[in-house]
């Protein structure tokens, strides 16, 4: 109950701040349309009784007229009220809530720690919050609230008329409903709990479904003849979910059936009671018809509305729990140090790291220092933690133990604005934004997003200008295939855009994570040659598989098993022998075929 109050306070708070009038309108409409129900019961009785009198010639038709008018009003008004409610108020609320909720949720992303996006537990919360909070809000307001008010007014008014006949009639009418509502609340809660557990299954077939319609996958499936197998897998995953649902549904249906029978049988009991009272002369024929009808229609519907509300509330309040949990996901913390450090040395001090929710330690006591202005290559085999190390350095993940220092201070001491200006990263899976080319590069430094001059300079440095000039609208060309009119550029060209992005804003620390994996050899070679110029005066980390590139850096760190195993210049490491020399020679040997070296 406390939860319900809290949720409604939250909801109404949003509505009140956006459009207070809507709340007022909702309540008034709901009350009026509720009130028309008992009035109609009364009017029905009068219309029937007096109508017979008119037919018998006991009263004049003119005397009868006011009742007919009332009849018309009572029959028409509720319809109009509900029209107003569902075609105006409901969609209007939907719009307000959609903007307000989504807006708040999206703003949370800014503060939320990145690591949640890589954790299943958090993703489930995020997914459900995004999927359901909005719909839940819509159900809770105006639907449930409105129905609750309408039904309350209607039930009270109708029960009053029964109470007039016999004081105990309201009790025989209401008691079975209370029991039924209680039972179905419990049952429903269970089915929703059950459905909560489908999330992983649903993700599994959704992800597979996305593959089955993505063209790269479709092509490969075709080549390997695996389409049918995959489609069958999709089908059986979906079928598994469906069967599970049906099994549970039909099991629950039996329970539901029993509980619904309680009020149903009470219904037949009550109308028979009325018939008996009538036969004893306790009520007139008009009353009998009007009241019997109301037991089958308006009273029944209004009371059942409560059953529905209680059934659904559990589910929707639950959705709000995800919404709340989402907002409670841990957020980034930043320090107070608001000045850019002069010295941009980087120090990893006994850093250990395990991805949250996994048990394999990726970094074991990783320690190294990179001096301010130094250019360092980091090499190592696949899956040894190079990219993880970058994520830690950028503050996307927190070390389990140990410390990362920049300019001699712990990374966490720096303020958000410093952190955002410190690094120029090029990720292995860099982002390809479907926005204009200029913006794609400009986002590297938000202060200069409109600074054409700076963007042009970055383009030039990364050799983006070479193909940019060939695009129809130059820098204003929309990139990517997501939207109509967007131009898709090649993987290598995207990589150059990502590199240009890293040059924006003159960030003191450059981090390049395999920046040439999609470049052809000539382009790669060019980038190496330009590296010195690009990184002049900066601290630079160059992660690579292609060992030729180690020539462009002063020092090489070899990472293996989550540790630095070797460190030194190319010559030193070659002299040492070991992993680096092995790797280098294995690549070099191909260029030293038959003794000829180019």
């Amino acid at each position: 109950m406390r939860r319900i109050v809290k949720v409604y306070r939250n909801l109404l708070g949003i509505m009140y701040s956006e459009r207070p009038f809507i709340i007022f309108l909702t309540i008034v409409t709901a009350m009026l349309s509720g009130a028309s129900n008992p009035i109609f019961v009364w009017v029905n009785r009068q219309v029937l009784n007096l109508g017979m009198d008119v037919a018998a010639g006991k009263i004049a038709f003119s005397e009868y007229m006011p009742y007919l008018v009332l009849f018309v009003a009572c029959a028409l008004l509720p319809q109009l009220f509900s029209m107003l409610l569902w075609t105006y108020i409901d969609p209007a609320c939907e719009l307000i809530l959609r903007t307000a909720y989504k807006g708040r949720m999206m703003q949370k992303l800014k503060r939320m720690r990145y690591e949640h996006l890589e954790s299943q537990a958090s993703m489930e919360i995020i997914d459900k919050a995004y999927d359901r909070a909005e719909i839940a809000a819509q159900h809770l307001f105006p639907k449930y609230m409105c129905n609750a008010i309408t039904s309350f007014v209607a039930v009270a008014g109708i029960l009053y008329q029964f109470g007039v006949v016999r004081w105990w009639l309201p009790i025989t009418l209401i008691a079975p409903f209370v029991l039924e509502t209680y039972l179905s609340y419990i049952n429903h809660f269970n089915i929703y709990e059950e459905m909560e557990t489908y999330w992983k299954r649903e993700r599994e077939y959704e992800i597979l479904g996305d593959m089955l319609k993505s063209r790269e996958y479709v092509k490969e499936n075709r080549l390997f003849g695996s389409s049918d197998f995959l489609i069958n897998t999709y089908k059986s995953r979906l079928n598994g979910r469906n069967r599970e649902y049906e099994r549970y549904y039909f099991m629950y249906l039996k329970k539901h059936f029993t509980s619904q029978n309680i009020s149903r049988f009470a219904q037949i009991g009550n109308v028979l009671l009325l018939l008996w009272i009538y036969s004893q002369g306790g009520i007139d024929i008009g009353q009998l018809i009007a009241l019997t009808l109301s037991i089958f229609t308006s009273l029944w519907n209004s009371l059942r509305e409560y059953t529905y509300i209680f059934q659904g509330t559990g589910y929707h309040i639950k959705a709000f729990e995800y919404y709340e949990k989402y907002f409670n996901l841990s957020e980034d913390s930043y320090g107070k140090m608001d000045e850019m450090p002069e010295d941009t040395s980087i120090e990893f001090d006994n850093v250990c790291f395990t991805y949250p929710g996994t048990d394999k330690q990726i970094l074991h006591n990783l320690s190294f220092t990179i001096k301010s202005g130094e250019k360092v290559s980091i090499v190592g085999e696949n899956g040894e933690g190079k990219t993880t190390m970058v994520k830690l350095l950028l503050g996307l993940f927190q070390p389990d133990s140990g410390q990362i220092r920049v300019g001699g201070r712990p990374l966490s001491d720096y303020s958000q604005s410093v952190r955002e200006r410190l690094f120029g990263p090029v990720f292995q899976d860099f982002a390809k934004y479907s926005i204009s080319l200029n913006e794609n590069i400009g986002v590297g430094d938000m202060d200069k997003i409109n600074d054409k001059f700076a963007i042009d300079a970055a383009m030039k440095k990364a050799k983006v200008d070479v193909f940019a000039s060939k695009l129809a609208e130059g820098g204003d060309t929309l990139l990517g295939r997501d939207f109509e009119g967007g131009v898709d550029i090649s993987g290598g060209q995207w990589q150059r855009v990502a590199i240009a992005r890293a040059f924006m804003g003159d960030k003191p620390i450059l981090i390049l994570d395999e920046p040439t994996s999609q470049l052809d050899p000539m382009a790669e070679s060019e980038l190496y040659s330009e590296f010195a110029e690009m990184s002049a005066g900066k601290t630079a980390i160059f992660i690579t598989h292609r060992l030729g590139s180690t020539m462009i850096t002063e020092r090489i760190l070899v990472i293996s098993g989550g540790k630095v195993v070797q460190s030194g210049s190319h010559a030193e490491l070659m002299a040492q022998g070991g992993l680096y020399a092995d790797m280098f020679n294995s690549q070099k040997q191909w260029y030293v075929k038959n003794g000829e070296v180019a």
Partner: protein, 608 residues
């Protein structure tokens, strides 16, 4: 430009005109996909349409009976009527609430069962279609748009056009039955009453059509806007958020999202206003007619033309009829309004398929290209502009050249994913167009440039996907993983972090793709830059293994790394969509042309 590609372009550009024909095709399509459940549904709807009028009669009968009751007489007939009434209304309510006949079901409804099953069967059919469409269409961005569009409105269980079309058609059929039967019975009471009630809802047909049209237009006009809104939302939740976090880009993208979302909201507000006006007017009209006919019935009653029982039955019938006929009309209108979607649906579903027929390729012997040209559909430039090349069984050939010179395109032609625009390509002497395309796929092992990452499957499943036609061979999977040098992860680990599995590094994924091709184990092997993400040791090992493969295996590999190419028996240099050089490493170095230029450019980094 008129060439073989032109026909393809015409097919993909073709758009069906919205018509009833496609709507009925869609209906048949969905019905035949979900025969059992659809029949049950339709049956229940028809039963329901008889129950309501029956109730009205029982009610009238009951009133007459109690009216005629005088104290001390037998109450039993009234009791039985009441119980009969109760049982039928119970049944009707149950059917109605479980089927969500009004279209607004909730989770607990039986309708979800139907919706789920429809989703299962429709999606499978749609995916099947995609897996059969001629693969060349996948080179065209427009196919993406079509697919995206169709999957947006069709296939989904709850919100899909399939469910709407079916539900509306059930309602139409059921309501025709009930409207006719009720109208006939009302006619018995009073012909005028019947007429008023039948005519009154006609405006519904018009208002619903207008309303649906407004909505359709709105959706069509704003699809792009919605796509942008969705794009920015999902972008902020994607792996791009790494970058957003480090560079502080959230506000920038949030504002982009907000601008578009607000714009959409403004437009939708206007739509709602218009729809409200129409609906209100319609509802007012229909309800007035409804109430009017009740008042008419009451007047008849006061003049003694209807008895009290008849009045009760008549009012009840009027209400049911009014309700049913407006539902009938609005369902007809919304059924018809889906013809646009139906046309779009068949734009995709009618695309020509790649059939498992034609001349079998057999084991690979020789491939010949002569004056081979290719341009991507809907583009005007020949990416391949006259390739002349012969590859024989057992050769290990490397394709080199800079980006965009046509290597990958040529590889796609060899695999059969695309067909020549012009010129000649023969395999074992048969021209590519006459070969059975599926058979070509069956005879080769491939590693694509961007290999698929089959999330939600285990590492070993990913390998098994290389050949699902033969029984799963765990030993061969082990051997394939070993061949690719895949290590560091347990083979039974589920892949995909967001479902609680693990993710692999780029290099590990690539090794997995190599293992997949190795598991497939065919004699004709095509590798398109299979090692771009591998570390040097792994790369050397992989290539050495391919070169050392048995004599009867033909290997074609595309690479950027000249050092790797040097391992091949033969090197083909692509430039400007043509073959520029062709020979062994030593020969090409000696020629001192493009090849040696590329070689030197890369070797200099190792020259120390």
């Amino acid at each position: 430009m008129i060439d073989r590609t032109t026909r393809l372009e015409q097919n993909i550009e073709h758009e069906n005109k919205p018509s009833i024909k496609h709507l009925f095709r869609l209906w048949v399509f969905v019905f035949s996909s979900t025969k059992v459940i659809s029949s049950i549904y339709l049956g229940l709807f028809i039963v329901l349409s008889f129950l309501r009028p029956t109730l009205a009669f029982l009610w009238g009968k009951y009133i007459t009976t109690v009216k005629g009751y005088t104290k001390g007489h037998n109450l039993l007939p009234a009791v039985f009527l009441l119980i009969g009434y109760f049982i039928i209304s119970f049944a009707a309510d149950l059917i109605e609430s479980y089927m969500a006949a009004n279209g607004d079901g909730d989770l607990e409804q039986l309708d979800l069962v139907q919706a789920n099953r429809q989703q299962e069967l429709m999606h499978s059919k749609m995916f099947k279609k995609l897996s059969r469409v001629s693969s060349e269409y996948f080179e065209i961005a427009k196919l993406n748009d079509k697919t995206e569009q169709v999957f947006n409105f069709a296939g989904d269980g709850w919100g899909g056009v399939n469910r709407q079309v079916m539900l509306n058609s059930y309602i139409v059929i059921a309501k025709i039955v009930s409207v006719l039967s009720i109208a006939a019975s009302l006619f018995v009471f009073n012909p005028w009453l019947c007429l008023i009630v039948l005519i009154a809802p006609l405006p519904t047909l018009w208002t619903t059509t207008i309303g649906e049209k407004l909505r359709f237009k709105f959706v069509r006009k704003n699809t792009k806007l919605v796509r942008r809104i969705d794009y920015f939302q999902s972008l902020m939740l994607s792996s791009a958020s790494k970058e957003m976090k480090t560079l502080g880009l959230y506000d920038f993208f949030y504002n982009k999202w907000k601008t578009h979302a607000d714009e959409y909201t403004m437009k939708e507000k206007k739509l709602i206003r218009n729809q409200t006006a129409i609906e209100m007017a319609n509802s007012f009209l229909v309800n007035s007619a409804n109430v009017g006919s009740m008042v008419f019935a009451i007047t008849l009653f006061t003049t003694g033309q209807l008895s009290l029982g008849e009045l009760g039955a008549a009012i009840s019938l009027v209400g049911t009829l009014m309700n049913d006929s407006s539902q009938l009309l609005s369902s007809i209108a919304s059924f018809l309004s889906k013809k646009n979607n139906a046309a779009q649906f068949f734009d995709l579903m009618d695309l020509p398929e790649q059939k498992d027929e034609g001349k079998a390729m057999g084991t690979f012997d020789v491939l010949r290209a002569k004056g081979l040209k290719y341009r991507y559909p809907l583009t005007g430039r020949y990416v391949l502009n006259g390739i002349d090349l012969t590859i024989k069984k057992g050769e290990k050939v490397a394709f080199v050249g800079e980006n965009g010179e046509g290597k990958t395109t040529f590889v796609k032609l060899i695999t059969g994913l695309i067909q020549p625009s012009d010129g000649e390509l023969t395999i074992n002497g048969t021209s590519a167009g006459e070969l059975n395309p599926i058979d070509r796929y069956r005879n080769q092992s491939t590693v694509m440039q961007n290999p698929s990452r089959y999330f939600t499957f285990t590492v070993r499943d990913n390998v098994y996907l290389g050949d699902t036609m033969r029984a799963r061979d765990e030993g061969a999977i082990d051997a394939a993983l070993k061949f690719a040098g895949f290590e560091g992860q347990d083979g039974d680990e589920m892949l995909g972090k967001d479902i609680g599995g693990i993710d692999l590094s780029g290099g590990q994924w690539q090794k997995l793709a190599i293992a997949r091709a190795a598991y497939r184990n065919r004699d004709f092997i095509i590798l398109d830059e299979p090692t771009s993400n591998l570390d040097p040791l792994a790369e050397a090992e992989v290539f050495q293994k391919y070169i050392e493969l048995a004599e009867d295996k033909t290997v074609i590999f595309v690479t950027h790394r000249i050092s790797v190419a040097a391992l091949a028996d033969r090197i083909v240099v692509f430039k400007g969509g043509k073959v520029l050089q062709d020979g062994t490493h030593e020969e090409l170095i000696a020629q001192d042309g493009e090849y040696s230029r590329l070689y030197k450019e890369q070797a200099k980094w190792y020259n120390r």
